[in-house]
Amino acid sequence: MSDAHAYPHEPTGVETRKLGFWVFLSTEILFFGTLITTFLIFKGRDFPGIKLTDVYDIPFTSVSSFVLLMSSLTMVLAHNALETNDQEKTRVWLLATAMLGAVFLAGQIYEFTEFYHKGFELSTNIFSSTFYVLTGFHGLHVFIGVVLLLALWGIGQRQKGLSLNEGMNLEFIALYWHFVDIVWIVLFTVVYLI
């Protein structure tokens, strides 16, 4: 608020928008928690039919997981570059993050089509339904993240570049992006490896 001099605020010492954003991330845990719970409950069920283990391709998914993991690195480098006010580097790393995210998404689309052709369709059975809804919900998050990153990159291209305190804030998009990454860390283990 521009009347900050008259009006004290932020008695907690955390910037208001950042606080709100962390509360949002905390609730996201519950979203994914519900999905993972459902997935695990059904994973333990004895039900006839095709299972994820019949169709999946661990080397492929490992590579795409690695790609997403590395996008967290490029994201944090973009953030770091902006903190030192290096506009050009910020844009480069932002674009790199968006591209890595897009590669991950492409991998997911490829994976889904492969599974589909092997007869593992959305409504085949509970194993396929939970798999698609869980990983699809995550994929939607990645997609939104890529759109936000590209928008941010576009804004950075214009006029005076990006700033840490204004507008579509790089910091929040970074937080969001890392969050999407940690969700995948959990999903990769829970869905594929165990």
Binding site: M1, H9, T27, F42, L122, S123, I126, V133, N169
Partner: protein, 662 residues
Amino acid sequence: MTKIIEPKKQRNIFSRPSSEEGVWSWITTVDHKRIGIMYGYAAFFFLLVGGLEALLLRIQLSQPDNNFLSAAEYNAMFTMHGTTMIFLAIMPISAAFFNYLLPLQIGARDVAFPRLNALSFWIFIAGGLFLYSTFLFGTAGAPEGGYLAEEVSRLASAPNGGWFGYQPNAGLKYSPGTAMDYWAIGLQILGIASLVSAFNFITTILNMRTKGMRLMRMPVFTWMTFAVSFLLAFSLPIIAIALFFVTFDRQFGTTFFLTEGGGDPVLWQHLFWLFGHPEVYILILPAFGIVSEVLPTFSRKPLFGYPAIVFAGFGIAFIGFGVWAHHMFASAISPVAQAGFGLSTMIIAVPTGVKIFNWLGTIWGGRLTLNTPMLFALGFIGMFVIGGLSGVTHSVVPADTQQTDTYYIVAHFHYVLFGGALFGIFSGLYFWFPKVWGRMYNETMGKIHFWLMIIGFNLTFGPMHWLGLQGQVRRTWVYAEETNLGFWNLIVTIGAFILAIATLVFMANWIYSRRKGEVAPFDPWDARTIEWSIPSPTPVWNFSNAPEVKSLDDFWHQKYGEDEDGRAVRREGTDELLLQLEEEGLNPKEEIHLPSPSYFPVIMAFGLPFLGYAIIYKSIPLALIGVIMLLIGGFGWGTEPLEEEFESSEEEPESGESKNYE
């Protein structure tokens, strides 16, 4: 008045809305007070609709073997009654209180994110309209060979699977047609509204408090808002995903909750009640907060045991997450789970009891003023104790299995949610009436309202206890003559009509007093909290200067000191102080910058129903409209500053870091 400066015009997708009066000023407003008032009116409208649905139900049940409603219509009516009252009436009325009062009670100029606030209001409206559009477009077919097959009227073309949407009954096989899809997606949209407002209120309470407003100096109502916001933030995601599953089951042929595909109907119950039980506290805690403000004011005593009441509130909120399975004692859950949840249900009665005793301790020995808000607050305590006690009986599992799905349960939760939540809300509506409108309500009509309501309420829901224990089953549209349930059912119906008359009295009072009521004096109740230290109706800018709070009940301590016996004594010069406060409140010295109105929240909010229709009717164009509205809204929002830059008459110091964006 002219201190508010005209903003400079700036181009965006649309130029800034500029009207200060008329319809557009309300649609584009980001002022928490206006949003609160709109929440209140919209929610009250839905309360009337839900009440009408209840009256139809009661006419049908007024005598045995009645034919007023068909079975299909009855199913639609009780589903819509429950859904409306919970999601479209009580929750948003509480949100109206949060919106209007929260910034005033913590001495802030607005909530932390004013445009998000407008967004959650408009999403609520969009969701409500979407849900009710089922009466126009929805279809509720009949399951194959079901007894509903005869006719399906418009009245029955509404969701009919109960507000709890139990699976597989609410699945496609037993609830064909689109009505239950309207229900699932409608609740999804409403959930987004509440979730957004929860982020907003949590952040507001933590970060927008004025000087000296430490956490333990906050009014209890603010504390309860805080607790409710946490409940919302952590319980709504669960139901959102569960509704997501339902939509997938119905639209895309998955079998999350259907046994034929390996799914699990009991999982739906878990997920639903994991949300559904915290929801109960979401409905009741705001009323706790309101009553905790009203009782001390009219007892002229500080609230007895303020820390206890605050911690009990959070205790309830926390334990409230651990009792959900007591709704499922009659379902297939293990005896160990039944025992555990029975215990936790008993335990949650403890913090609730603590609060009751705090309120009684507050009234004890006080100088009571028995005006309308106080009467409603006292009525609240009485009715809520009855509802609470019948609630504890559900923790005894064998008794609960007997009572499940009978009118005993209906009696219980209406004593809690009507006798509790709604009485609390009425108390608050009367209490803050002068604050909002600057006029007094009519005391006589208020008292008539109260007495009609408490008589009608007990006539309506009291007999349901024994009807239930005699075995009358919920959600059944007829009962046979031989059951001998006719007499008490007739009494219940008469009670329901008395409630309707009471509501009409309330509305008449409201409409009359808003225009013709006496002008409210400054601080009409000799109140305790700082929202009364500013003029009524509240000026657009709330506080002319950021108040500095030195203690709990700060406004009271400005007015009163203590003599050697600890009695409250009005300080000398208090009258002058009040005059001075009024003068200052109306004439701010500094220039005040308020957040500017915006079109984008409305645009975003009304994109969501289009996405909903797109899912139901598998329509790409509708989906595109929805996405485009969201994109326009989102982009416009992201690039539009919260406040316009001002052409200031004086030189404004360059503020280094502006925090104009959300």
